[in-house]
Point group: C2
Chain length 304, copies 2
């Protein structure tokens, strides 16, 4: 099994009530891959600038992530995002976005990238997601993540992209916004009618919900003593969720396995937010993940 | 085992995206009692006006709730609340509040009311809650519910009331607001230092979290096709939660039983919001509760 992830590879400057950091390694594909690598082989597709150096490649290489298809463009700069969180850290405010190398990104997938069993389309412009999806037509399972920006400025493209995938991940407010339906269950059903068989509604510190034609799943999030930086939590969730599903094979996806995948997603997201940027997930181990999964079960299972 | 509930007994006029209703039976003590009665004997303490008639008493009597201590005051009117909910139904907007009989309410508990094993102090002015708590000094377990209004205009009274109870129930934002701590885990720990051994953070459509000195519990809410009126959901939760705890006896409260109580609270709240006012919970049966508890388990347990 193998997973190809396309999405932003970025430098992030982040300020939260618990501190501020400049130009940390970040981006949707990076956070995703660092979480998914515990379950399956992961490769990242995407462009970086010449400011993306040995430290960044080294971190990804050491994590066992395939970086051969990260395209380093001379004379250009890596995608940059600056943002901050207020007292209520469920909401990110964007202070600055520099597309840089992403302005002219033309995804070209190698034979190996196209042969992956699972394809993750991280949060980038939906037409770009569609082009990647078109190239990776051998993938048995394709998932897409997006955000309110694309609902606002590229709604039709996003709906077209969603129609072509198996699984869509959005915040719960975005699921409602995209469908215009105030009830999440009905909003998710409307998305499922449009194509995907699985809709995941991410709910920040409250956990996540999942819908298929037959199933409904809801899990809380871990209750954490320290939440320093929520940036990338959604991508870490997607990494744990899709990494686990890829590891069992898309033919084996059942209600039970979807719940387990949600739990792994939640666990990976819980580690992500405990420290800035990739700091916590980059030095994570599989035993620590299993230990927290047991804690998560103790937190929420109410017995027979 | 028996439970005494003090709180508002009201007429509510409510408008939601799914309809509007005038002068329905409502109030914190009413919603609480209708949920708790499935688990233990419940009596309501509180005043009503002469507009509170046979229909209202009849509904409570038929539900098996002891109404002998509901004081009907001639020439006065029942507490009245009018409010509405927007597209996002997590937030209630108050349009009108008429204290009426509650303006001069002087709680006097009978011997039977004071002998209850559990006392629930529903959302009323915190000094009133303290007086009731002082009268019911035989209760083995005392729980208090409150709201942002009292944090804003009677903070010191509320903190004094909280210091005298075993369990406090608030919305998660209110737990943060009251303690000034942005992290819910630390905010709850601060409340526990002040007196109560159990802090429940209600999270609306997202479920609830619970904290003791040793335990953390988080459960989601049911994912519902129909959410017509969230009024009273927090009180229904409290009714299921405290009704179950009273039924097992406060000496038997364990981590396992607290989780089960949270699940019952969530199930009762899920029924409450499916229809306006008390419509759904008033005609509920215990088998329907057990059936939904099984559905709830299937929704959220992710297996071993």
């Amino acid at each position: 099994m193998a997973l190809t992830a396309v999405g932003s590879i970025a430098f992030d400057s982040v300020r939260t009530p618990f501190g501020a950091r400049e130009r940390m390694l970040g981006g949707s594909a990076v956070h995703f891959a660092l979480a998914a690598r515990f379950f399956t082989d992961v490769r990242i597709i995407g462009p970086v600038g010449e400011d993306f150096g040995d430290a960044e490649f080294g971190l990804l290489d050491e994590a066992g992530i395939e970086t051969a298809e990260i395209e380093r463009i001379d004379g250009a700069k890596t995608f940059f995002w600056a943002g901050h969180y207020e007292h209520d850290m469920n909401l990110a405010h964007t202070d600055q976005t520099e597309l840089n190398v992403f302005a002219d990104f033309e995804p070209k997938l190698t034979e190996q990238a196209r042969a992956a069993s699972t394809l993750f389309l991280g949060n980038i412009q939906p037409d770009l997601q569609r082009r990647v999806r078109g190239e990776a037509d051998a993938a048995r399972f394709v998932a897409l993540d997006s955000m309110n920006l694309w609902i606002e400025i590229a709604r039709e493209s996003l709906l077209a992209a969603i129609a072509e995938v198996d699984c869509v991940l959005l915040n719960d407010a975005e699921v409602r916004m995209l469908t215009g339906h105030p009830n999440l269950v009905k909003a998710a059903a409307k998305l499922i009618e449009a194509g995907p068989s699985i809709v995941v509604a991410k709910r920040g510190e409250y956990g996540a919900a999942l819908f298929t034609a037959e199933d409904r799943i809801a899990i809380p999030a871990m209750l954490l003593d320290e939440v320093r930086d929520p940036t990338g939590a959604g991508d870490s969730f997607a990494g744990g969720f899709l990494g686990y599903l890829d590891s069992i094979g898309s033919d084996s996806i059942s209600s039970r396995e979807l719940k387990r995948a949600m739990a792994y997603g939640s666990v990976l997201a819980s580690f992500n937010v405990e420290d800035f940027g990739t700091d916590r997930v980059a030095r994570l181990t599989r035993p620590a993940i299993e230990e927290r999964l047991a804690e998560f079960r103790a937190l929420t299972h109410f017995g027979g």
